[in-house]
């Protein structure tokens, strides 16, 4: 359903990004400007202007880290990592319950991710709460860690009560539309890699690789 990358960025990389963001005071805008007509009513945070030079530098760095991470590759089948945003929530700010738009700028939002840039000690509140089918789950990860979850979930960011929460967020358009398909493919790939290590490229490996490859063709979307 959702998984963590522990870490995606080193603590130093995350701290450096957070520092750069904090220092670019003039480029911050009300987050409600980039939300859909109804999410806007509950979005109460600040976002780095997408046309700013700093945004472009940091977004490219984050996109690159994600796109080449082996777990992202094996579990999310990214065709696009898109619409990265840097946001910060001061005391009293947050983002009420909502579901993300299905398309942003023409690209589908199959998975959402949050990369924490401030350490959990730097703020109170501000938990990212996912309404998963099995119940709510709340996340406050260390700086540099990422959470990837299906964009199909209702979710919210609890109000920050003290300090400041700084994160990068964004979306993945997957080549494989459904979460249950991605999960099956990830397990089949895990199985064949284990077999390859154990026995090399034998007949059983070839059969499973053929199934894997042909399921990708069937489910590509």
């Amino acid at each position: 359903m959702f998984f963590q990358i522990q870490p995606l960025l080193t603590a130093e990389q995350a701290a450096a990004m957070a520092r750069q963001l904090r220092e670019s005071a003039k480029d911050w805008r009300a987050g409600s400007e980039t939300a859909g007509w109804h999410a806007r009513t509950v979005k109460n945070n600040q976002q780095l202007e997408r046309t700013s030079a700093l945004h472009q530098q940091l977004a490219a760095a984050l996109q690159d880290q994600l796109l080449h991470h082996p777990l992202i590759q094996a579990a999310t089948f990214p065709s696009q990592i898109h619409n990265i945003l840097f946001s910060r929530s001061a005391a009293g700010e947050g983002y009420g319950r909502h579901v993300d738009n299905a398309w942003m700028g023409g690209r589908r939002t199959d998975l959402s991710f949050t990369v924490w840039l401030s350490e959990p000690e730097a703020y109170q509140g501000g938990g990212l709460v996912l309404e998963a089918p099995g119940g709510e789950e709340s996340f406050r990860l260390p700086a540099g860690h990422a959470l990837v979850y299906p964009s199909t979930l209702l979710h919210r960011v609890e109000p920050v009560t003290q300090g400041e929460r700084v994160v990068g967020v964004g979306w993945i358009q997957s080549r494989i539309r459904h979460a249950h398909q991605r999960e099956l493919l990830f397990e089949l790939d895990t199985a064949r890699r284990a077999l390859f290590e154990r026995n090399g490229k034998d007949d059983v490996f070839d059969l499973i690789s053929r199934s894997y490859s042909n399921l990708l063709r069937m489910w590509d979307s």
Copy 2:
């Protein structure tokens, strides 16, 4: 199944377009040049050369009007509005029964539209006849009005018997492939907008918005 935009252009805008088209005599070509191998045998009208400056100006204007029209947005989910053509049929001309090609220039034709540029009084005959599952229906709309219908239908333009019929036509590639899916989504969106007006963004609104958003993800194509 099909719906009218009353109007898409004001009567003045339509009249201005019609006048510009009438005055660019050198840019007209036989319509059969842009039809498929079999539709060609029944296509008997004139079309504005697509490479002409006038075509590019008028097509861009029409595309822009359509793309931002709220009904087009809510009911057709356009990813591309494409292959706009301006055509005129003098007395004796028309376009026999045919179905549009499934792709034009690499883009799918999910919906077709006609925007009338001449007033119905300006010509006799020339009705656009759709062979809908419930029977034939014929259309001669006022200048500036548009008809949008599924490209899956057999249709024809009856011969003009007097005067001249001038229209713009084109196609929409929809993000949502099937007409029955678009219809369901349009109704769910209508329902949630009515709820939002009545009660704001409450729990019921969030549940329906989540369903709407996740159906878009499932059916995106």
Copy 3:
């Protein structure tokens, strides 16, 4: 993903069933007899003979309770509740990691359920562990409570270390194949029922009911 019915049976009903089961010593068989060729190697418990009179009486009672429970109706869309089994695990017994067969006696296993008949205090160990996408989760519910979960999950029953664990288990063939479809339909139904209570059968209710009904038609399988 999974949900609990708290309770399905009263504590008294559960206790009565458990007592009847405990007293019918001659009807118990090795559980491995009803497992598939590979699950058999890890199934180590006892099951009530399906042809026994006691089995038929208790299975019919359980099936009836489940079939008419409003949450089962609204969330699982049952076409069949089938292959109910009563099993008990004494100290040292359990059921290793496995996935249920996709069909049992010609019926599809879309959802699995366990109804606890012994109280958690009556045994040590014996947790039902589900390998959900978000991680493992272990269940030891009170007598009379039920857990319903997708049959698509790997799961196991941890060895009982003391006392005896008695449960009824079984499967649901759903009219709606995919968990994400059932979840969407359940939420849409929840929304329209809330609207009906609030405003009665108005236009918005009719639109949502039409969407709900037509999604059932599309996804029926």
Copy 4:
């Protein structure tokens, strides 16, 4: 979308059924008893008790006529014709806007039909109004005629203002789930039958028959 059978029953057969129905006063019940929880609030007519001998005789006759009608066979691909009801609406009665349940007694409602048993002159009002995608359409057919339409539509029976309206209604579970698939198959079948008449069983006929037969296999549901 919808089509008429003109007639399904001769005027005499329809009149005889109507007479038998009118004479069985004791077997009529409030129609709301067989409607779903929300349709019930708008259903205001009388229905023949399904367990009565008369119902069983007439329903079997109607089912038989429908099942063997060539147009029903070629256009609706019936696997079940089910839940036939005989209803009558006196002055002041009707059936408000609703959509039919997706399943009735475990069978899917893909298409609905109404067979008129009273002549249109015998009552005022009582039109069957379908909310088709292209707009509302109202039907008051001659006795013995039938209308078949997708069960996916919102529809209503306008209040009868004078006289009495007597009809038989029921549902078809189709082997082919979607209306657009049935329409395509119906046309392909029409084409191959025309070719068979013209040229017999030649190579072109075989290719089209193969396509037809394989589309049935693909879309069977």
Copy 5:
């Protein structure tokens, strides 16, 4: 695409069946009686009356052999083996090019089979010719051998030029609709059985078994 069972029946079993068939002269009918309206024009053989006692005995035996054959189980996922027929073709008889009906008696024809009961030396001609995508292929198998092939293919039985050809034929409704899905599942099952033999029920086996089981659920139809 298609596969042979070598043999399904021993030569003795096949010879005994052929002898019984040959001796029941009074039960044979023209094969055209059981063909569809167009296949009838090219079907020119004899068939054992389906209501005869001999038919019922032999059909039950054949159905039983097929249903329990491991290759049929693993590669065709039978939900029904149905409409078995015994046919014989004397000199001059055969069955021209045709495709089988998609449904017979309410059951889908996903796969067809022929079981040869006479030895190839007993007749000349009479080859079963399949028009596979890669080209035509002709079969004259030994008595007791079976050929199973997709019912989606055009095929024919070449005229017998000498002697007599006796076969049993029939159809399989598969739980898995598409040939490419059955092929993928068959290979995945082959792979996991090889792994089970090599390493027992380890983690890799569990992952592949889960994928296999969940694909069956997804594709069940």
Copy 6:
């Protein structure tokens, strides 16, 4: 399943390409560089560097020939012809059993093709062996001929034992994902073209053209 183009290039064109390739010694690289992590272990041949001028000239020529070939158009529905490679295998070289990756450079591999540039007399061994569902098939075509086959098959190039084998290979992303859909569309198109030649654009032609066009819309992917 697979089909040959006899020829795609004239013998002279093929010979000219082969000569140019043979003369550009400095541009050849180990083929394993462009294979996936597992195919790499069995790929043992030489490939022309993709950035070389010669590659770009020859690949463009081959792509152009294929894209405009009527059989490619009618049977494979190409949206992209991509990743063309020129490879040569000297004695001892070949390419072991493997399945192609589902995507290459973001494009799906629905069909694979090989165009032979050396004559079969110029080398021994080197057969392209496809593991089709009906069994293995080996190909050594004349220079200029092409073989097109589904990328879903396991395949290999047998070791060359003498001389040198020179080929161009590449992939087609099809607008129509599944082989059985492409086959059905190809036959329907063949049928309507035969009808058009025989009777022109009559009603039957229009019905079949509509079905054809609407199936393209449904299956476009």
